[in-house]
Point group: C2
Chain length 210, copies 2
């Protein structure tokens, strides 16, 4: 999944754990990339920070768009055969989960990806409150050996400034490079926004520029 | 193109002449509908009126989104094999063109559709100033017999209140039914927003609810 074939650069994949479209994409992107001999570089971004720059708001808070968005979230999930239930509390802050993801990437990139998928599924399948530190620690614990040491270490890291700064830097870099929504993919510098751009992304992988 | 097979209701298709995505859709929707034994009911809407309700703005006026949008317009057109050049003046008012379209529908629905395609192509292929009444009249003239009578009649109608009220009513109805963007499709009450939703629309036509 994380193997790069030859010299082909990985697909850059930006996500926010609170986006249903990013969740759908997170269930599809690794297989699609692998089919074309690419790896995937998963990176968290905070939609709230992007919205401040673009003046956007969560879809479910926008008049007219709210009802359509709820319908489109679930229909798009069915279209892609990805199980999804919109949580009762939606959207929520993904600050702790994003920082925890970065902490995992410092240990083990594959473990970090499994953690990300666990967070997405906990939120969009089980409706768990992924904005809560305790829930994030519970999810992290599933991937950690020995459990107690890792839980304590992550809990401490989530209180510190290192992870806070690391997430702020990665979000700033994403915004500076033009990322304003999720899921966001970049293939050899070509940007694609939205799970609905996967067909264009796939054609790009097949043909290069079209 | 406008034939309905059996009792299947036509696809409702809302467009604004200033939207590149609506232009791309306008080149695809009739053939897609025909393949599934459906007609298409073309209806103009004014994005500006929708934006007032949703707080949205033209994509090329939104920080970060502007550069991506210009890239995505042309890449999406190439993806769908629809020739497109973003006009120097973009977007523009489509008030006169939309009223003229309604005037044509009162005469002949097929003629109205040909007029709509002529307006879209004049704007997105030839960069003509479709916000100008004289350009709208020039385009209308191509479809009219005898030319002089129609040009004069349309010019007069564009000054009157009947067409203004008709467009206001059709836009109000669209907004009331939840339309907030274009292209907008509705199949048996199921709404689809965006040319990128054509694959979902097609599955709906094939299977019904999914």
């Amino acid at each position: 999944m994380n193997v790069q074939a030859g010299a082909a650069a990985p697909i850059e994949f930006h996500f926010d754990f609170s986006s249903p479209y990013a969740y759908i994409a997170s269930e599809l992107i690794d297989a699609l990339a692998e089919k074309h001999g690419r790896g995937v570089h998963w990176q968290p971004v905070l939609l709230g920070a992007a919205f401040k720059l673009t003046g956007a708001a969560p879809l479910v808070q926008v008049p007219l768009k709210d009802a359509y968005a709820l319908r489109d979230f679930t229909r798009s999930a069915r279209f892609h055969c990805v199980p999804l239930r919109i949580p009762a509390r939606f959207p929520v802050s993904t600050l702790h989960a994003a920082r925890a993801f970065l902490w995992f990437t410092q240990q083990d990139e594959m473990g970090a990806r499994q953690f990300a998928q666990a967070v997405f599924r906990a939120y969009f399948l089980d409706g768990r409150e992924i904005d809560q530190i305790e829930v994030v620690l519970d999810l992290a614990q599933s991937f950690a050996q020995p459990f107690d040491v890792t839980r304590a270490a992550l809990a401490e890291a989530l209180q510190g400034t290192v992870l806070k700064n690391a997430l702020r830097d990665i979000v700033d870099r994403a915004l500076s490079s033009g990322v304003f929504g999720v899921p966001w993919f970049s293939v050899d510098g070509e940007p694609f926004w939205g799970v609905d751009r996967l067909p264009q992304l796939e054609r790009w992988l097949e043909q290069g520029s079209f």
